[in-house]
């Protein structure tokens, strides 16, 4: 390539003399020796150096991506119902899938770092100058192609992280004047994100971009060989050949890159070993978030770390609206790239070359600084203690955050006021960071749960893993409860540290483990039934149930200890939660439950108010205890607490969640009511290994 005249072949160095007949035959037919010769015996002015390894490590990284990418391709399925699912399968079920995906994922990041090093070395060494200008431009195109592959690859698992990051990236592309919206629609594959977003991103990631990259790489290497290696001046050592010294340095660098990649993948395994915990291969390498869900907020959304500086840069233009985003996401990065394209021309002058170096270092330093700022903002709450802001919080609380009042409290002292606003901003930053960290934790929980659900014996339904998550009481229950129930009801373990505090703020019963043994025991506890965890903050505070428990139920002549126990177990049995309460053995004591049922039905006891079995007590005065606490019963009371079975006349503020008001919609759909009821009852899928209470999956 470099040597059209064939001189290097005649140099005699490394030439295979004689050789086997098969080698001779092959050489006469292909001329491979000359090829190997020209590939290995490239002249390196001044001998081998470590600073020349970056280009080779990039080629190595690309080859690694091709090898791992092709096999990932053999198991990946690009559609909205199969992308997450197939990646889950690769990561958690295929042998070695975690390692394959891990290498692909981490090497992609290593490639970005190597790119930066390569560009920096080329600029600092002035390797872009004549006659190598075109090769520098080819290199910049290669850089954009690599970044394009990183961007498109991020979406392919179709998890929350990739989905939201891609939405942002494609929306920013839509800001380009005139062609933006059409361009966005073309990339997304339509007006909305779905199958065609994935097929297009996949085609880009595994087809268009790498194919283009290969073409440009061939051109890049051809020109590199044509012009020879640009030696860093001054040359102090004699020239040497590419083989073996420079190849050795390159190979050592490649090995180091691979060692770092493997280190990143295996670090958590090492930590697990040191902590004596079991290693889950699926948790190594690349993470997989919960399946993409456009209806679920994802506050943990961040681009991959190497794009974090752009993300942070956009914040510089906060308050500028779309113009700011256009400037930050398109104009400034575009101008930067434009200057980089001009570097070979600017570099003709000494001053220009110096400018190029300063510019490159400034860009990298700026990107580093922006990345550090982004990380600092996100993780601020980790290294600052909330108590540091106690006085600021107190001041804001006591003045309702009114600036004038605060100013007055500070004695109209300008300096104190400035110090205060400064710390108030920090408190605000702390709160934002805290919210981000909570979101990250939530995302990690959601991801773990989705993986747990996907690993059920029944596998993933053909509607996809999202349908599993959406119909999972454990995933949806807490969110629905927080949105619709928590404004009145508490849901906290009564033994928790802050339980009393939470109860005091609630205005309805605590529903933690509702229907289970401990909840029922609390209901029959004279000290607690009228307390904030039960009826204390409701209209029933002085109702018949509270007075019954406090008076009749404590009368030991009327209610023996055994009878009380029988009633507790009969109620828990009615809720079908004996197993969940860890009282499996009680089931054998059917006699107790039967006795309890008789006591409940007895019209001189519970049955005097509550309809139960065939005790002929009329519906309407006190809740129907048939199937009390069961899923059907809970669905019923959440749907309509004013139904004859529950509180037709004495309902205390509870909305009729499943009944549409005139011409309106139900506050909660039937499915949502079912999910929240199942969650309250604790009936959700648990993997066999972590199923101490042996609660079966709800159908």
């Amino acid at each position: 390539m470099r040597d059209a005249s064939g001189h290097s072949e005649t140099s005699g160095i490394g030439k295979v003399a004689g050789g086997s007949w098969i080698g001779n035959w092959l050489d006469s037919r292909t001329g491979y020796r000359a090829l190997v010769q020209s590939a290995l015996y490239e002249r390196v002015p001044g001998g081998a150096r470590w600073r020349y390894v970056w280009g080779s490590t990039l080629v190595f990284a690309f080859m690694t991506q091709v090898i791992t990418g092709l096999v990932l391709w053999a198991s990946y399925s690009a559609s909205a119902q199969t992308a997450w699912e197939s990646v889950y399968y690769i990561q958690y079920e295929m042998t070695g899938g975690w390692l394959l995906r891990g290498i692909h994922h981490v090497m992609a990041q290593a490639m970005v770092v190597l790119l930066a090093l390569h560009v920096m070395q080329v600029v600092i060494d002035g390797a872009y100058r004549a006659p190598r200008e075109v090769n520098f431009w080819l290199g910049l195109v290669l850089m954009m192609l690599v970044l394009g592959m990183a961007l498109t690859g991020y979406l392919l698992p179709w998890d929350q992280k990739g989905y939201w990051a891609t939405r942002v990236a494609t929306n920013l592309a839509g800001l380009v004047p005139l062609v933006g919206p059409s361009m966005q629609q073309l990339v997304v594959g339509g007006p909305d994100y779905g199958h065609h977003t994935l097929t297009r991103f996949f085609a880009l990631h595994a087809g268009f971009l790498p194919a283009t990259l290969v073409i440009f790489l061939v051109l890049h290497l051809t020109l590199f060989r044509k012009h020879g290696l640009h030696a860093k001046q001054p040359i102090t050592k004699p020239d040497a050949m590419f083989w073996p010294d420079q190849v050795l340095k390159d190979a050592v660098a490649m090995l180091a890159v691979m060692a770092v990649v493997l280190g990143v993948i295996l670090m958590p395994a090492l930590r697990a070993i040191l902590a004596g915990e079991p290693i889950v291969p699926g948790h190594l390498g690349a993470e997989l978030g919960a399946p993409a869900d456009p209806s679920e907020p994802y506050a943990a959304a961040r681009p991959e770390w190497y794009f974090l500086f752009l993300f942070q840069f956009l914040k510089v233009f906060e308050g500028w609206g779309a113009t700011g985003e256009f400037l930050g996401a398109i104009v400034v990065p575009g101008a930067t790239l434009g200057i980089m394209f001009l570097m070979p021309i600017l570099g003709q002058w000494k001053l220009g070359h110096r400018f190029n170096i300063v510019f490159t270092i400034a860009i990298l330093a700026g990107a580093g600084l922006l990345t550090a700022m982004a990380l600092h903002e996100d993780y601020y709450a980790l290294w600052v203690d909330r108590s540091a802001f106690a006085d600021v919080e107190k001041l804001i609380e006591s003045t309702d955050g009114d600036d004038e009042k605060i100013f007055a409290v500070l004695g109209h002292d300008k300096e104190k006021w400035n110090a205060f606003t400064n710390r108030r901003d920090k408190l605000e930053a702390f709160r934002r960071s805290e919210a981000f960290l909570v979101a990250v934790k939530q995302a990690s929980h959601d991801s773990e749960r989705a993986v747990e659900l996907a690993g059920r014996p029944g596998k993933i339904p053909s509607a996809g893993a999202l349908s599993l998550v959406r119909s999972d009481p454990l995933s949806q229950g807490p969110k629905l409860f927080a949105q619709h129930c928590q404004s009145c009801h508490a849901h906290i373990d009564p033994t928790a540290e802050n339980a009393e505090e939470v109860f005091a703020k609630s205005s309805a019963a605590n529903l933690f483990e509702f229907g289970g043994e401990s909840w029922v025991r609390g209901l029959f506890d004279p000290k607690r039934v009228g307390g904030a965890a039960y009826f204390g903050n409701t209209a029933h505070k002085e109702g018949d149930m509270v007075s019954f428990v406090c008076e009749d139920f404590t009368d030991e002549d009327e209610w023996t200890r055994a009878d009380k126990e029988a009633v507790v177990f009969a109620l828990v049995a009615e809720a079908d939660l004996l197993q969940a309460s860890g009282r499996k053995g009680v089931i054998k004591r059917g006699q107790d439950i039967k006795r309890g049922q008789e006591l409940i039905a007895d019209t001189d006891r519970c049955g005097s108010c509550h309809p139960y079995r065939n005790n002929e007590t009329e519906l309407g005065y006190a809740p129907d205890l048939n199937g009390w606490g069961s899923e059907e019963w809970l669905v019923g009371i959440v749907t309509d607490p004013t139904h004859q079975r529950f509180y037709p006349d004495t309902n205390d503020r509870m909305p009729r969640f499943g009944v549409a008001s005139d011409g309106g919609l139900q506050a909660l759909s039937d499915k949502q009511i079912m999910l929240v009821s199942q969650w309250l009852r604790g009936t959700w899928y648990r993997p066999a290994a972590h199923n101490p209470k042996n609660v079966s999956e709800h159908p």
């Binding site: 140099s11 002249r43 791992t68 394959l100 290498i103 020879g228 010294d245 090995l255 990649v261």
Partner: protein
């Protein structure tokens, strides 16, 4: 361009270096080390790729079980085979399907018989779906024209190396017909079940 004389210069310069033998030994060592390092660096992605690529070899369709097929009343005792789908839960990599048709069989009941014969509809030659040719009173494979009698026996000359594959079946007292669903290797004389 230094290229034209490049080879010469290097030769000369290297000639000034320490004795040739030592240079050669050093070159050999460097070369060997370079190959070693390069090989080691390439090993992880290659191992991971091969490891994951061979994953399908570890998968099996599981032990054959008896699957409910139909009721005896639905199989007239006239010696005419009838086609029934085999319904079962199926796992395809990550997707679980419930009660899905996973294949088809021909069920035949002779006059007055209280038991049935079940033939797999998969041609033992190359795995096509064997069709029942009612007019000709035989089974015929549309792919390579293998023909079989209504009992599944081979009609010579035939590309198929063996008769149609019969499947074990059971008829419960209540008349429920179930079949032991299996796939067999095609193209060989012996009937060998796939695992």
């Amino acid at each position: 361009m230094p290229d034209v004389t490049g080879g010469q210069i290097v030769t000369e310069q290297l000639g000034e270096e320490p004795p040739v033998q030592e240079t050669r030994r050093r070159s050999f060592l460097s070369g060997a080390l370079a190959v070693l390092c390069g090989g080691l660096a390439t090993l992880p992605p290659v191992v991971a790729a091969v490891w994951a690529f061979l994953d399908p070899l570890q998968r099996s369709s599981g032990a054959a079980t008896f699957l409910p097929l139909t009721d005896l009343n639905n199989v007239p005792a006239d010696g005419q085979p009838r086609q029934f789908p085999v319904i079962a839960d199926r796992v395809d990599a990550w997707t679980g399907f419930q009660a899905e048709p996973i294949g088809a069989v021909y069920v035949k009941r002779d006059e007055g018989a209280d038991r049935v014969e079940v033939l797999s509809a998969t041609c033992p030659h190359a795995g096509c779906f064997v069709e029942l040719d009612k007019a000709a009173g035989c089974f015929r494979c549309p792919c390579h024209n293998s023909s079989f009698t209504l009992d599944g026996g081979i009609v010579a000359p035939s590309p198929s190396p063996r008769s149609m594959d019969s499947l074990e079946c059971q008829v419960s007292k209540a008349g429920a017909v179930s079949v032991k669903w299996q796939n067999f290797y095609t193209g060989i004389e012996d009937k060998v079940a796939r695992k």
